[in-house]
């Protein structure tokens, strides 16, 4: 097991280097002048300005030299200056990641609770009404383009009813959260508000979280629901369940005590991957709801040629994905002793 973990961790730097090379290669589609334009904010006043920038950042050097320079800076902890976030990339990661984590957690909880419950019901009543309902509900959710669902939510609950606004906080709440009397322990507004004992801020943050969390939940319910259903169907057809029934256990006990724990093993692993997926892939949701987190930043950086930010975000996301995959694999082996990692 330890050997397996070490071997998987050794792959991490290889994949990260591969990712950065990939992005560097993509940027070579732009010529030095275009890449120099990434560093200026207004049209240059004299013609030599662009040449100066090319000189200063070594943009006309061969690609491998540029890459080595960049790698050297990264190893020394300097990920560069993000143009879109208006702060160092490292600072922006610290700033935006908690926002995305908060959104991911707030949508993750309903996905798991309702997804598992509905999945189990669907399996117990296989081909019954609940099963058919769950199937239609999840296929429609799975097919819903995230931005269309988000726009519909905004149309109903913001434009028409004025209940739930986009953004992350109201102006008055933003002023308090960033003032000196409010301690930002985690960067997650709902949690910080509770820690500061400010229920009004908690309420405001929650009001902004409901729609994006609901959108993410609806388009992702299908996955957990389907996995729970098919895993539960597998389990309740096994012999030991028949034995449990044969010895006269009430159906409720058979389901809850005998079938459910075993059926939850794949759900736990898929749930772990889903959480990472939520952390990595909220580009569209955060853009639609103007929720300033990693996804919003990533979309802005990509659309504005902010290469330094894109590199930082990608390396961060890539590392997160690989580590999470590892944790999930190990957890899988731990939950199910029949699995051996080799």
């Amino acid at each position: 097991m330890t050997q397996y973990i070490i071997r998987r961790l050794l792959i991490l730097p290889i994949v990260l280097i591969g990712l950065s090379v990939l992005i560097f290669a993509m940027l070579q589609a732009l010529d030095p002048v275009e890449r120099a334009a990434l560093y200026v904010t207004s049209p240059p006043k004299n013609p030599s300005a662009l040449a100066d920038i090319i000189q200063k950042y070594g943009l006309d050097e061969p690609i491998y030299l540029q890459y080595v320079h960049w790698l050297n800076r990264v190893i020394h902890g300097n990920l560069g200056w993000s143009k879109t976030a208006q702060m160092p990339v490292l600072g922006a990661l610290v700033n935006y990641f908690p926002a995305t984590l908060e959104l991911a957690l707030w949508s993750f909880i309903p996905i798991i609770v309702i997804g598992v419950w509905l999945g189990i019901q669907a399996a117990i009543h296989h081909d019954g009404i609940i099963d058919q309902f769950a199937r239609v509900f999840s296929i429609i959710g799975y097919s819903f383009p995230t931005f269309v669902f988000g726009l519909l939510m905004l149309m109903i609950f913001y434009a028409a009813l004025r209940w739930l606004p986009p953004g992350r906080l109201s102006d008055w709440a933003t002023a308090i959260v960033y003032s000196s009397e409010f301690h930002r322990y985690t960067g997650m507004n709902t949690l910080d508000a509770l820690l500061n004992n400010r229920l009004d801020i908690f309420g405001d943050a929650l009001r902004h979280l409901v729609l994006p969390a609901l959108t993410l939940a609806y388009v992702n319910w299908a996955l957990i629901l389907r996995v729970t259903r098919s895993s539960m169907l597998d389990v309740i057809r096994q012999d030991y369940i028949t034995v449990a029934r044969a010895k006269g256990l009430p159906e409720r006990l058979v389901t809850n005590r005998h079938a459910r724990p075993n059926a939850m093993i794949p759900v736990a692993t898929i749930g772990g991957l889903l959480l990472v997926g939520l952390l990595n892939g909220v580009v569209i949701t955060e853009t639609v709801f103007n929720y300033h987190g990693m996804g919003w930043w990533a979309a802005n950086a990509a659309l504005n040629f902010d290469a330094v930010s894109v590199l930082g975000i990608t390396l961060f996301d890539g590392a997160l994905l690989i580590l999470a995959n590892l944790v999930v694999d190990v957890m899988y082996a731990y939950l199910d002793p029949r699995i051996r990692l080799a």
Partner: protein, 327 residues
């Protein structure tokens, strides 16, 4: 979450990885079983509903010149404008489904957008399946170093968040190629293939060990011939099924690119592009509901149609789910 913003093929391979080895065995089945799963598909009301929806879109795509005659016959994908006023206008006799920002006719955009959707879906799926399938098959057949290198590349590309990767590539290419449709499709293809490479690799590895392959070796057939004439025809069924059912997902991802401003140009008959106008009118969407609801419904139905077929297909392919009633 990635599961939504990524093609199904990739999600499945990453999510299923811990169990993939045990599952690969029943993905391979003798060809005689194929018609059987097709028959199941035709008896399943869910898949029939899906096929009817897709068929409906095929008819709309074919009849587009009749349903919405283009103003300039040489440029049918240019949505006609009725003035240049910014504010959308509600459905009327002149504009069945209303006009969106800049007075682009929504009905026309939806009808001709159907052709765009099929074009994008089929080209991207065809290319990703071809690239991923070839690389995966060759890698599995050759084994050794080739396999190792291809698998590492697959791993790296899969570690790149799909939508972000496509965004970056589309942005970079947009500076070179001034055709949003082409850049979007290249971006999706460039990062869409690894899932298929993984899928076919497992199947080729299984078929490679069968007796008829050994027999082909014995009569002196060479590597490429064995791979492409003997192994692939027996190993590509699940790739073709999964691939063709991803058409809906690729159309959805392309629409997301268009929505972010990277796909089709303004005024091009494309659903995502039509929907992107809605971003400018979010506080007023209650009044301008038609700029979201109509193109959104077209996109949702299209993806839904493919997913309904796909759902039934997966049931039909999974022997554990066959013929079981009640628990």
């Amino acid at each position: 979450m990635a599961a939504v913003e990524k093609p199904v093929s990739q999600v499945n391979t990453t999510l299923r990885r811990p169990v993939a080895r045990t599952e690969a065995a029943h993905l391979i089945r003798p060809r005689s079983r194929v018609p059987e799963s097709l028959r199941i598909l035709l008896r399943n009301p869910v898949s029939i509903a899906g096929m009817l929806i897709v068929l409906g879109f095929v008819i709309v795509a074919i009849l587009a010149p009749v349903l919405a005659p283009p103003a300039i016959p040489s440029e049918p994908f240019q949505i006609p404008r009725d003035g240049y006023q910014a504010e959308p206008r509600p459905p009327s006799a002149r504009h069945l489904l209303g006009t969106t920002q800049g007075q682009y006719d929504i009905y026309y955009g939806i009808v001709w957008g159907t052709r765009t959707a099929f074009e994008i879906g089929m080209i991207v799926t065809g290319l990703t399946v071809l690239i991923g399938g070839t690389l995966g098959a060759v890698s599995a057949y050759a084994g050794g170093m080739v396999d190792e290198v291809v698998q590492r590349i697959v791993e790296i590309v899969l570690a790149f968040p799909f939508l972000l990767a496509a965004l970056v590539l589309a942005t970079v290419l947009a500076a070179k190629i001034h055709n949003g449709l082409v850049t979007g499709m290249i971006a999706l293809t460039a990062f869409g293939w690894p899932g298929y490479a993984r899928l076919i690799r497992g199947d080729v590895l299984a078929v490679k060990e069968r007796e008829f392959v050994l027999a082909a070796h014995c009569i002196g057939a060479r590597g490429p011939r064995i791979l492409f004439r003997h192994i692939l025809p027996n190993a590509m069924y699940s790739l073709l099924v999964v691939g063709s059912l991803d058409i809906g997902t690729y159309v959805l991802t392309f629409a997301a690119l268009s929505f972010l401003g990277l796909g089709a140009e303004q005024g091009y008959a494309d659903w995502g592009q039509l929907l992107s106008f809605a971003r400018n009118w979010i506080p007023d969407l209650a009044r301008f509901w038609y700029i979201v609801v109509f193109p959104g419904a077209a996109l949702l139905l299209f993806v839904l149609g493919w997913n309904l077929i796909g759902d039934a297909f997966r049931d039909a392919l999974d022997p554990k789910m066959r013929g079981i009633r009640g628990a």
